[in-house]
């Protein structure tokens, strides 16, 4: 029974090779809002399944090596794939998969449900926001593939800033919650496994660098486009701000404990 639960959970809270299903589900969601919702809900469902079925705690405090290796492999694989894509929508999906897979490192370590739930949200929220921005970009330019017509920094400064901040939030930049989530994942690993996690971090740095390069720099040569509305910018900014503040609060609690 547990195997079926693991498989279903692995498809919802992505874990190689079932992470493929998670990605297919996101791709098949109709529209940006649906995809954003899916990236928020699916991992939570997976988590719920693990916790309610008792599978989460059944492994006890000591995590099996294979599980750990698979979680890190998933994170590395998807981070690497994200570095090779220029499509923001795909980037957000792959980065979400890479980050969410680290949840598996915490199996059995975080007994409080809300703690794990927040860990998952730390990756889901920036991914959901990024998918929304990708939807807006598609609406404006016909697609979310970057680097074709030069940087958007001058023609869509508001959207560019929000996308840049969200990309940084998605890659565990300090002050955002997933930075503290990453610290928690680090604390869960023996020191000999640390290079692999550092490799994940390195790949994230590379991928966000490439994204920002394509997003911001270069002279824009495309059609005239409208920027994000001021209201939308405030809303996006506020969401990111609250996200960062909660992250600080959550990180503080974790450090104190």
């Amino acid at each position: 029974m547990h195997i079926i639960i693991w498989i279903i959970a692995g498809a919802l809270l992505p874990w190689f090779p079932f992470s493929w299903i998670f990605n297919r589900l996101l791709v098949s969601a109709p529209g940006a809002w649906a995809r954003a919702l899916a990236v928020l809900v699916l991992p939570q469902l997976g988590l719920l399944l693990l916790l309610k079925s008792g599978a989460w705690m059944s492994l006890g405090q000591e995590m099996p090596q294979t599980l750990r290796a698979l979680a890190l492999f998933t994170a590395i694989l998807y981070a690497y794939r994200a570095a090779g894509t220029r499509d923001v929508q795909i980037w957000a999906r792959l980065m979400a998969t890479s980050g969410l897979s680290l949840t598996w490192l915490l199996v059995g370590l975080l007994p409080r449900y809300w703690d794990v739930q927040f860990f998952v949200l730390a990756w889901s929220i920036p991914a959901a926001l990024m998918l929304l921005w990708a939807g807006i970009l598609t609406q404006r330019t016909g697609g979310s593939y970057l680097g074709l017509t030069g940087g958007f920094a001058r023609v869509m400064p508001r959207l560019s800033v929000l996308m840049s901040l969200t990309a940084l939030a998605a890659t565990a930049t300090p002050v955002f919650p997933n930075f503290f989530a990453l610290l928690q994942a680090m604390a869960s690993l023996p020191i000999s496994w640390m290079p692999l996690l550092l490799l994940v971090l390195l790949l994230w740095g590379w991928t966000v660098g490439r994204l920002l390069q394509d997003l911001l720099f270069g002279i824009y040569r495309g059609e005239p486009v409208d920027d994000l509305s001021v209201g939308g910018t405030w809303l996006g900014g506020l969401t990111l701000g609250v996200f960062a503040l909660v992250g600080l609060f959550w990180g503080g609690i974790w450090i104190i404990n």
Partner: protein
């Protein structure tokens, strides 16, 4: 393989390179920045055609955007009647293409209502049928045969056979050869052309660029690590032209296309190519003499690097290796090639990009047919919808009828409609430009003063000032005339005396004359005071510190030790620039009083000077090499050593015998005299030749002075002081400093020319001969050199020690007048440079701010320079006296009555007017395209090799003006129109003068400048040259411009 190239082949390649380089403008080093027309190489074409050709070669745009012109139109700076006239002329050329459509209304609305850059942008698939379908919401019906033919056309255009192979590979495979090649080439150029900026110099530079690079490249680890196999390429040929020919053959470029291929290669980095082109032709340029290079070297290096990078990509990605293979690849699967092009050139529909990229990334690629067809259909639909969107938006702005007209058109009519719009948009910028110019022409013609036919009896002014024609002299002249009894004249800032100047303490000559002239006479500056051997303590310390700063190793060891010393200067310059400057000046040794060697030397005098110099060198050598002090050496000893060194006699010398030096020691000493101290026979004859160039003969002096005075109509009524005011700018931390200096002095400072002129004109012998020519200069007239600092507006007088005692009585009045004009001019300028509006009422505060501008190293815009120039007025001062021309006019004094043969007018048109045209067009193109013709923002500039600037750490040399010079708050501060030249002369007379000058005729006929003739013998009617003929320009009845009557400050 080189042996297969005959001399004829080599010459052919060199000729091709020469011809290919013709459109590339020469780029002078920053130290003597020459304002030049970036399209100088295309001046044989009419302006409009040249702009189009330059767009093809340099990818630069030639006009402002539509929305920018619309802003000028709304501000009343465009002549609407002229704009409508040009539009109607265009429509007349189209005939009765679409009689039922009110095209005039459409075009006018397009110009005045449409904000987008292009209403009908470039498309691949759009035609009348596609547009018709999109307008009516119908599906397009693809015609396979037509689509196929169109696809071939697109590919033939975008993957041209004569296009660089690497560029085609980049377009088809998404490789990055082009930019990598540019980076590597720029690095190689920086290594070779460095003029002392780098602490470590590239080896073997004396051999020339290609030879030196070749040696280094074969052992370059960086190239090796990149997998570039250069050795084989370099060993195949010896000469650069051989390499070029060899690689072109290897790339299978048809020989008929070599010329175009070479042109494209050279124009890719046209800043570097322009600099190398200048350098290879500048005979007096020290660095070019030392380290020779030409465009053949540059092209050979580029071709070798490009070939090596291409071979590397071919090895790794299996892409085509030459032009033929590329064409075969494209023809084998045109749809796949099209999709590749779309993806890698960034024109693909974004929604398709990922899918196409994924398909290309697959190892087993599926057929592109289905996806390709679908993509073409999608792209066609998108182009149609975009066009419909653009047209409907315009139609709705025009009114309901326009939309109905659009919807009623058949596919064929829509095709014609699109063609007309495309043709109009192609030439629209030129119409806007001419209409703007028409506004300025009318404005000038209406404002200019008509001189009274009967001139009043001339009163002798207190002082006369000859100032440069530069636009910055205009306010100074206006204020000087307003405050007192001053008369001013405009003349090229080199005062008609072209000189090659050897400044005291400098090792190289500088040409102080317009860049189009080559001076024959050398003027040497020598100190009038005894020079002390000892270096001042502060100077020595500073020398040591600067050596430390430029050393490679010192940053590792000396930062903590001496960093603090530099920080003091840093803080001082930032916090209190004026105080810091005063202190700094106190610590520095002042430049000694100097005199200019002005008179031609007789052979005896030259020989005597040479002997004196050689003797001095021998004395110095004796002290340094043999440690023999001067008091132990007699003149005969020195003379004997000199004779031995020059091989007139043989040793041993009496001195060597007396001092008991061996024959070996003496031989070594003599050799050193020849090698190091240049006391050598061949060198002596060279120096004699050089001494022969020094100074001017009396005839030359008389000729230059009389010509200059007649040129500006100054043959009588000389006042007590005749100031010769050269100009220069003074700024800190500004690589563009020389761009603010005198254009008529080749980007140098105008003071030496003023001093030369004054010294000549003050000579009694010269004056006597001038009197014979009818130019009577009274005995109490004194020509006094001065310099106008255009940043602070201060005017400083020079050579006052030569001033006769009787003139000293008036000196204070003169100085007071000049400083009052300085303050008033500063008060006018400072509010435009970020100062408060109140400064206009506070001349003292304005002058203080102007002074601060000269020493503020953080200031990116110390002065506006020549920005906003628009007019050049050649005529008497009476035309413009009291007229506020807002520092926008070059003013050249000229009186046609003193020029019966028109020779003086020819001189003005051939030299000062051309300088004005270059300055104007440099500004024009730097505004209309700040990136390609301008040099972008100063903020990102870095000095390259001490001769130019680059953006970032590596780029093409930035040749134009920075945005800070021509824009204000992101909008053009310089209003880009061609120079409007107004000449006060009878029409037939002026036409005759122009007819005698082929180059000027081409410039005027080609529309590179706009010309107005004001005919004094025809009641000062104005005639404007347009479309090859002079048209009468009526003057509007407007009140006269107010003469400035201001209180003496």
């Amino acid at each position: 393989m080189d042996h297969q190239l005959t001399l004829g082949d080599r010459l052919k390649v060199r000729t091709m390179i020469y011809v290919a380089s013709e459109p590339i403008p020469r780029f002078w080093p920053m130290r003597t920045f020459i304002h030049h027309n970036p399209l100088f190489g295309l001046e044989h074409l009419p302006f409009e055609e040249a702009v189009e050709e330059a767009n093809r070669l340099f990818h630069g745009r030639g006009y402002l955007s539509r929305s920018e012109y619309q802003e000028y139109w709304q501000a009343g700076k465009v002549d609407e009647a002229a704009l409508r006239k040009y539009m109607q002329a265009f429509l007349e050329k189209q005939g009765d293409a679409l009689p039922e459509i009110p095209m005039e209304h459409w075009l006018w609305s397009l110009m005045t209502l449409c904000k987008s850059e292009q209403l009908v942008p470039k498309t691949d698939w759009l035609d009348g049928h596609v547009l018709h379908a999109a307008l009516h919401g119908q599906a397009t019906d693809p015609d396979a045969a037509r689509q196929k033919a169109r696809l071939q056309e697109i590919l033939a255009h975008k993957i041209a056979l004569d296009g660089p192979v690497y560029a085609n590979v980049d377009r088809l495979f998404g490789t990055d050869i082009g930019s990598t090649l540019d980076d590597l080439l720029v690095k190689s150029c920086l290594d070779f052309f460095d003029e002392g900026q780098s602490a470590w110099q590239s080896p073997g530079r004396k051999q020339g660029f290609f030879a030196a690079w070749k040696e280094v490249a074969q052992h370059n680890v960086r190239f090796f690590l990149r997998g570039m196999h250069l050795r084989q390429l370099l060993e195949s040929e010896q000469t650069p032209e051989g390499v070029v020919a060899h690689i072109l053959r290897d790339l299978r470029v048809p020989e008929a296309s070599w010329q175009k291929y070479i042109t494209r290669q050279l124009t890719r980095l046209h800043g570097w190519a322009g600099f190398i082109r200048y350098r290879s032709t500048a005979k007096h340029y020290y660095w070019a003499e030392q380290y020779p290079a030409d465009l053949t070297d540059f092209l050979a290096v580029r071709m070798v690097l490009g070939m090596a990078l291409l071979q590397e990509v071919v090895r790794h990605q299996g892409c085509p290796a030459n032009a033929e293979e590329i064409q075969n690849f494209v023809h084998a699967d045109p749809l796949s090639a099209y999709l590749r092009l779309e993806l890698y050139t960034g024109t693909i529909l974004p929604a398709w990009a990922q899918q196409v990229e994924d398909m290309l990334a697959r190892r087993k690629r599926p057929s592109f047919d289905r996806v390709g067809q679908q993509y073409v259909a999608a792209k066609t639909r998108w182009e149609g919808e975009r066009q419909v969107h653009n047209l409907l938006r315009l139609a709705r702005a025009m009114g309901a009828e326009a939309e109905t007209q659009l919807l009623a058109m058949s596919p064929e009519q829509l095709d014609q409609f699109l063609n007309i719009l495309r043709a109009w948009e192609k030439g629209e910028g030129f119409c806007w430009l001419r209409s703007m110019e028409s506004h300025y022409i009318k404005s000038l013609v209406n404002r200019i003063h008509i001189p009274h036919q009967q001139e009043a009896v001339e009163k002798r002014p207190f002082a006369q000032a000859l100032m440069c024609i530069d636009v910055r002299s205009e306010p100074m002249r206006r204020h000087l005339e307003a405050i007192g009894d001053y008369q001013t004249f405009g003349i090229g800032g080199f005062f008609g005396v072209p000189i090659s100047f050897l400044e005291y303490g400098r090792g190289t000559e500088v040409h102080l004359c317009p860049a189009i002239q080559t001076p024959k006479n050398l003027v040497v500056e020598i100190p009038a005071e005894l020079e002390l051997e000892e270096e001042p303590l502060y100077g020595a310390l500073e020398h040591v510190l600067h050596e430390l700063k430029s050393s490679v190793l010192s940053p590792f060891v000396a930062v903590e030790a001496v960093g603090l010393i530099f920080s003091l200067g840093l803080i001082g310059k930032t916090v209190a620039p004026l105080t810091y400057h005063h202190l700094h000046n106190k610590l520095h040794a002042e430049k000694p009083v100097t005199r200019l060697l002005l008179d031609k030397l007789s052979p005896d005098q030259a020989d005597s000077i040479l002997r004196a110099v050689q003797r001095a060198m021998i004395v110095r050598a004796l002290i340094k090499e043999w440690n023999v002090p001067r008091d132990q050496v007699t003149d005969d000893d020195v003379k004997e050593l000199r004779e031995i060194a020059l091989e007139h006699i043989s040793g041993p010398s009496a001195l060597a015998q007396r001092m008991q030096f061996s024959a070996q020691q003496e031989a070594e000493f003599i050799q050193k005299l020849r090698d190091t101290y240049r006391v050598e026979r061949h060198e002596s004859s060279l120096q004699m030749e050089r001494l022969g160039r020094i100074g001017f003969s009396l005839d030359e002096q008389v000729r230059y002075i009389s010509q200059a005075l007649l040129l500006i109509g100054m043959n009588r009524n000389f006042s007590r002081f005749v100031l010769l005011v050269g100009h220069e700018s003074e700024t800190e931390n500004n690589p563009y400093e020389s761009a603010l200096d005198c254009g008529a002095c080749g980007g140098g400072k105008g003071l030496p020319n003023a001093r030369v002129f004054a010294a000549m004109a003050n000579k009694p012998e010269v004056r006597r001969r001038l009197r014979d020519k009818g130019i009577v200069i009274p005995d109490d007239t004194w020509f006094l050199p001065a310099v106008h600092n255009t940043t602070s507006d201060a005017v400083e007088l020079f050579d006052l020690d030569l001033l006769p005692a009787r003139h000293l009585l008036y000196l204070e009045r003169l100085r007071n007048g000049l400083s009052a004009a300085t303050r008033r001019s500063a008060a006018e300028r400072m509010p435009t440079l970020g100062g408060s509006e109140n400064l206009a009422q506070d001349p003292y505060a304005a002058a203080a701010m102007a002074l601060r501008q000269t020493h503020d190293w953080s200031q990116v815009r110390p002065e506006w320079g020549l920005t906003r120039n628009v007019y050049a007025i050649v005529g008497r001062r009476a035309l413009t006296e009291g007229l506020d021309l807002e520092s926008r006019a070059f003013l050249h004094s000229y009186d046609y009555r003193l020029d019966p043969k028109g020779r003086l007018l020819e001189t003005i048109l051939a030299s000062p007017m051309v300088v004005g045209e270059w300055i104007n067009l440099e500004h024009y193109f730097s505004v209309v395209d700040t990136e390609h013709y301008g040099s972008g923002s100063k903020v990102y500039h870095n000095v390259a090799g001490r001769f130019a600037v680059m953006t970032g750490n590596q780029s093409d040399l930035r040749t134009g003006l920075p945005t800070q010079t021509v824009l204000k708050d992101g909008k053009p501060y310089h209003e880009p129109v061609r120079l409007i030249v107004l000449v006060e002369a009878p029409v037939a007379f002026a036409q005759r003068s122009v007819g005698n000058l082929v180059k000027i005729k081409a410039l005027l006929g080609g529309g590179w400048v706009r010309v107005i003739l004001m005919d004094p013998e025809d009641e000062y009617r104005a005639y404007v040259l347009e479309d090859g003929a002079f048209h009468l320009q009526e003057r509007s009845v407007t009140p006269d411009s107010q003469t400035i009557l201001e209180e003496i400050a």
